[in-house]
């Protein structure tokens, strides 16, 4: 019983991992083309950007909020940086581009954070507003032109062609995997082992209790949104690198899909619960379905419906389990294991 519970994980990560394995086996049985390096490399490549965005969504969700402005921040930061670099014909190297974009993203995050924390407004509504403002400013005052691969700064195009593993005829493993893995591990470590990380959980669990134990709620929240803005900008630059173009109209509109993946990964929309591992699994599952449904003979038009159905089933099972828990007498052991 105890082993089972540990396998299941605090946020049902085990269940999700099992679902992924079942889906992968089903796909492999249905199509011999599934178990090839190219499928795997494609899956990794298409998961990179959603994964970074999902981490930002996860952090906000753990703190009890919902952020829909991250795609706007991401493309704003990445596009502004790339456009400036290509117009000034100055290449600040890959590190420089990341740094500039991250500062821009962090500044937008600061705007979100100040409005949300100072005025205690609902996060969904505020980020909805800032999303419009950010996208509007980008397209009105900065630029609406598509920047093609030829006009990208050389360091970006070079990074776009950097492959970790290259199997001729069977695809490649993209080099951006390394920075993404580093960020994923860093966020996991921060959530697990720093005061700041634990404070985010505390605020999401009970904001008033967090205040009473001495957590500076306003400061933590502002810092959180700055961090999430920076993460979004990081994801934005990676999407420009992978896509080999900068399109100011891209990314916006994907926010609800990312939120769906994070929810699938076991994070609670009420805050206080969620894990990096679960989020990774949620993103991988969604991308697995999006990429490979065609392989098992289901037309690609079914992708959205399949992800939607999966999400509904996932949250329904959670809700029914919560309903059953409420009917059972309170068990101390259960409380302990959950904490």
């Amino acid at each position: 019983m105890d082993i089972l519970r540990r396998l299941r994980g605090a946020n049902n990560e085990g269940v999700l991992a099992a679902v992924i394995i079942v889906v992968a086996i089903a796909m492999a049985l249905a199509s011999p083309a599934f178990f090839t390096p190219s499928t795997f490399f494609g899956l990794v490549r298409s998961s990179l950007v959603p994964l970074i965005f999902a981490l930002g969504v996860l952090l906000v969700m753990i703190s009890g909020g919902i952020d829909v402005s991250f795609p706007a921040i991401a493309i704003f930061a990445a596009y502004t940086t790339v456009q400036w670099s290509s117009q000034a014909s100055f290449d600040p190297t890959l590190v420089g581009i990341f740094a500039i974009a991250i500062v821009i993203g962090a500044l937008w995050g600061l705007v979100n954070g100040v409005v949300i924390a100072r005025f205690r407004l609902p996060t969904l509504i505020v980020t909805l507003g800032t999303q419009g403002i950010i996208k509007g400013i980008l397209l009105t005052y900065i630029g609406s032109a598509y920047i093609s691969a030829a006009k990208l700064p050389p360091s970006i195009s070079d990074a776009g062609d950097a492959h970790l593993v290259d199997i001729p005829g069977a695809g490649y493993l993209h080099g951006m995997l390394i920075p993404v893995v580093i960020v994923v591990v860093a966020v996991w470590w921060m959530l697990k082992h720093t005061t700041f990380g634990r404070s985010i959980f505390a605020i999401g669990g009970d904001i008033e209790a967090a205040r009473r134990v001495g957590i500076k709620v306003v400061r933590t929240q502002i810092l959180l949104y700055v961090l999430v803005g920076a993460l979004a900008a990081f994801g934005g630059v990676i999407s420009v690198i992978l896509g080999k173009n900068a399109n100011p109209q891209s990314l916006v509109g994907t926010e609800l899909d990312i939120i769906a993946a994070v929810v699938l990964g076991g994070a609670s929309i009420f805050g206080g619960r969620g894990s990096v591992f679960g989020t990774v699994l949620g993103v991988v599952l969604v991308q697995l379905i999006n990429n490979n449904l065609v392989l098992i003979g289901i037309p690609s038009t079914w992708q959205r419906a399949a992800v939607g159905a999966l999400l509904i089933i996932g949250v329904s099972i959670q809700a029914l389990a919560a309903l059953r828990d409420r009917r059972k007498p309170v068990l101390l052991e259960e409380e302990v294991s959950r904490a």
């Binding site: 919902i66 829909v68 409005v115 005025f119 205690r120 407004l121 609902p122 969904l124 509504i125 505020v126 909805l128 507003g129 800032t130 999303q131 419009g132 403002i133 950010i134 996208k135 509007g136 400013i137 980008l138 397209l139 009105t140 609406s144 509109g253 609800l256 899909d257 939120i259 769906a260 929810v263 929309i269 009420f270 037309p299 038009t301 079914w302 992708q303 959205r304 419906a305 399949a306 992800v307 939607g308 159905a309 999400l311 509904i312 949250v315 329904s316 959670q318 809700a319 029914l320 919560a322 309903l323």
Partner: protein, 373 residues
């Protein structure tokens, strides 16, 4: 003993009713409608003064009225879900499903039994579209009320599912064809007022009457204002929420019919920006995202205001992106303004008169407890 209990329950009930009523009345006057009237008049006068030749042109005014109904109906659907403390992210997907149902049934009948038969059956076909909306709304209702999934998660999932099914149904392309009845309605005006606009007004009046004047409406309001109090008042959360999301789906279907009336084609991804816009409109119109307070009038006025701003921006040759900035600034400014106002009211030593009845009710409740009555 039981007599005393039911008596106590009744007084508690009436007190609760009074408190809720006073809160609603106050909000009615102060938050949604009153403020939106001012905003609407100010924005209208502003654009009329800035560019009277284009903005006050009858064609432009008619365009405002033709553009308002679809987003207005979607915002009303959003509002009613928010009134119970929920949200309906799937409403645009439902509208598209309804439009696709009508459009594809119409073309199917026209192809198999001739266009005349299709026209003759258009009443039935339109009803099928409305039934589709109600059905999908009921799916949301079951998930929220029976299964117990949070509204935002339910509708996030069903939004994907309904949208996905619409993609499968249409194969991802725009399908065309709509009953002539609908397209005629889309073109007709009554004394200069587009019939579509009248559809919005009639729907809004019916919804307002249901919310404000019927026991069902009271239940919906109380469910959002205080679910625990609603439960203790003997209101079934299950049936209230079921009804709310079904009505939300119905309004979505109506919006889908308006899509078809304006343009006889349907697709899975029409109006994808409407979900967030509808939330903006609902909140601007004084809807409390946490539930309990909303006014139909406020939402209709907010819809018109945003339409006025949108067409005013066009008249001023400003882009859709500048309109997006204006939307965002307006939304955040209104929320911040409300919050500052609310804090000031709370800090002021003398309670504002409208708040007193509620305070008194709580105070008497405490006194009753203290004296052991």
């Amino acid at each position: 003993m039981s007599d005393l209990g039911s008596n106590g329950l009744r007084t508690a009930n009436s007190r609760l009713d009074g408190a809720v009523r006073s809160v609603i009345d106050r909000v009615h006057l102060q938050r949604g409608a009153g403020r939106m009237v001012i905003l609407l008049v100010v924005t209208f006068l502003l654009f009329a003064a800035l560019n009277p030749r284009v903005f006050l042109n009858p064609v432009n005014l008619q365009n405002i009225m033709v553009g308002a109904p679809e987003i207005g109906l979607i915002s009303l659907a959003m509002m009613i879900a928010m009134l119970t403390g929920g949200i309906d992210l799937s409403v645009v997907a439902i509208a598209n499903m309804a439009a696709i149902t009508v459009s594809s049934l119409y073309t199917l009948v026209a192809a198999t039994s001739g266009p005349e038969t299709a026209e003759a059956m258009s009443g039935l076909i339109i009803l099928a579209g409305i039934a589709m909306g109600a059905l999908l709304g009921a799916v949301n209702g079951v998930l929220v009320s029976v299964v117990g999934v949070t509204p935002i998660l339910t509708t996030l999932g069903t939004m994907q599912l309904f949208n996905g099914l619409a993609l499968v149904w249409t194969g991802g392309v725009t399908i065309s064809g709509a009953p002539t009845v609908l397209t005629t309605i889309g073109k007709t005006t009554l004394i200069g007022i587009p019939v579509l606009f009248l559809v919005l007004i009639v729907a809004a009046i019916v919804l307002a009457l249901v919310i404000d004047r019927t026991p069902i409406g009271r239940k919906v309001q109380l469910q959002g204002a205080n679910p625990a109090a609603a439960r203790y008042s003997g209101i079934s959360a299950r049936s209230t929420l079921m009804l709310t999301y079904t009505v939300s789906g119905l309004l979505g279907a109506l919006a889908g019919l308006v899509f078809l009336a304006r343009n006889p084609s349907a697709s899975a991804d029409y109006g994808s920006s409407y979900v967030l816009l509808a939330i903006v409109i609902a909140v601007l119109g004084g809807t409390n995202p946490n539930g309990g307070f909303a006014t139909v009038l406020g939402v209709v006025l907010a819809t018109l205001t945003l339409q006025v701003v949108s067409s005013g921006f066009t008249a001023m040759r400003l882009s859709a992106y500048e309109y997006a900035i204006a939307q965002g600034v307006l939304l955040i400014a209104v929320m911040v303004f409300d919050q500052i106002n609310f804090r000031r009211r709370r800090r002021s030593p003398l309670p504002a008169p409208p708040a007193s009845s509620e305070t008194v009710a709580i105070a008497t409740e405490r006194r009753r407890k203290d004296t052991g009555e």
